[in-house]
């Protein structure tokens, strides 16, 4: 009985592994086919040498950076304040932060376009800078569920009440408390939220496409309809980035466990 169930487990695992690994193998193999008759990294050279790639990728990395900063600035003080002073408000805040998982992103961006178009009270889409800010806010909204949960989990592990009172009795103001006490203590949690945000922003397509910004997602789609082998190379690059972000999150949580154990 036990032996046969183990056999079935192996079979299920092998089939699952085949389904999940074959597309990765396929994408890698395909990305090497750019030169007829031999495997080469030609597609990667083409992609990396394309000024459009550098421009869009750089734009998305920059946007990811700003999004992370904005996300932390909004989420960290709120999560801290709610835990410290308004615990009754926590379910409400939690509900709001989960909304971006409920409302499809395409609906949110549709709302942006209608609310903040050139003929509205706040014409953010009127200029490139305004649209960039709108896009950044949109990305911060998309990453809200992940960022909030990460920071809130981090706050749970420290005794913010005691820390805050200690700091206050030493004469620290709120900015000092947040910047020099709370943030360093939940830094690891913030980092895992940040890496997830990074992975989301780099691959995002709908927001950038509908707001007409030159981000990496629309570039990938453009490549997909115009080139044969380069899209596979882009997919390999994007997969490596996702993988790296997840690895960094794992590393961060492991680091957190380590520091906690040694305390």
């Amino acid at each position: 009985m036990i032996r046969s169930s183990r056999l079935w487990s192996w079979i299920a695992f092998a089939l699952g592994a085949a389904y999940f690994l074959l597309p990765l193998a396929g994408m890698f193999e395909f990305s090497l086919r750019a030169r007829r008759g031999e495997y080469s990294f030609q597609a990667y050279q083409n992609v990396l040498g394309d000024p459009q790639f550098l421009a869009t990728f750089g734009y998305s990395v920059l946007m990811a950076g700003f999004t992370i900063v904005l996300g932390v600035l909004i989420v960290a003080p709120t999560a801290f304040w709610v835990r410290l002073k308004l615990p009754g408000l926590r379910p409400v805040i939690e509900f709001v932060t989960l909304l971006p998982l409920v409302i499809p992103p395409i609906v949110i961006v549709f709302g942006y376009i209608r609310l903040y178009n050139t003929s509205s009270w706040l014409p953010m889409t009127g200029s490139a800078l305004g649209t960039d800010i709108l896009l950044m806010c949109g990305y911060a909204t998309l990453s809200l569920p992940y960022m909030y949960r990460a920071v809130d989990t981090g706050l749970r592990t420290i005794d913010i009440r005691t820390l805050t009172e200690a700091a206050q009795s030493l004469g620290a103001g709120w900015i000092t408390i947040l910047g020099r006490l709370i943030l360093p203590n939940v830094f690891v949690a913030v980092m895992s939220g940040a890496f997830l945000t990074f992975a989301i922003v780099i691959g995002e397509y709908v927001f950038a496409a509908l707001l007409n910004r030159p981000a990496f997602g629309p570039y990938m789609v453009w490549m997909g309809s115009n080139k044969a082998y380069e899209p596979a190379a882009l997919a390999v690059i994007a997969f490596s980035i996702t993988w790296a972000c997840m690895a960094l999150i794992q590393l961060a949580t492991r680091f957190q466990k380590f520091t906690k154990a040694s305390r």
Binding site: F30, P77, F110, I249
Partner: protein, 299 residues
Amino acid sequence: MTDLSLAHAKPDAPRRAPLRLPLVWLGVLPFAIFALLFLVWPTLHIVLGAFQTPEGGFTLRNLAGLMAPQIVGAFWISIKVSVMTAALGCVIGFVLAAAVTRGGLPAGLRDTMLTFSGVASNFAGVPLAFAFIATLGRLGLVTVLLRDWFGINLYATGFNLISFAGLTLVYLYFQIPLMILIITPALDGLKREWREAATSLGASGVQYWRMVALPVLWPSFLGTFALLFANAFGAVATAMALTGSSLSIVPIILFAQIRGDVLQDPHLGYAIAFGMIVLTGIANLVYIVLRTRAERWLK
């Protein structure tokens, strides 16, 4: 909770009351403004727009516009794809998670699978479509290998990646890992004692699963189904990169509508978006209700 904190604040209320309450609420103001401007208001604007004429009066005509055959068809395909990928994702994800956590496989596989699931559930969108085109497209790795090694011409059998079946196959790539990530803690919550008790009462392995484990897991199961449904329903980029716009699922129709007003009626766009919110909203409500029920057993 609110009552408690109010009662707590009462003792020093006479001294600080005038200043204290507003200042405390000031702390969540930045978040509230942000959420209002970039999440709540845009969504409300769409929802209200679905019930408005271009001049601003109340109407149900936009919603009636959803009954156009093209739109009904799109909703129908979207719902079919979402139900299909959610159901298959649940079952396959469950089997894989059960195999690794309960099937006597080496413990190392468990961590590997969970880490990989974390990556794969986030590897959606455009690159995922490219990976499948490179694998099962007309010149893809598997297509070519099947042809060269086994003499099977995949595309002669009627298979097409740009189709309902193809889209299902691709969506499963992020649906199954999500199920694995959610169901593994639930599987860990199955207590060893339950199994021992069932066995000592003479239950077979199948009976244990059918009469003990599955009823306990059922709420997590259904709840995750609802989450996966919403997850597939809102996905745009994957389908877009895979099919261009040849497969008319709801998000693609809405995308085209926002881009160029192809339906010649902007307020129909509001109605389509409203329909999407209603469906994903119901799905998530089901998920939240069932998750609270499921968590009872995990304590």
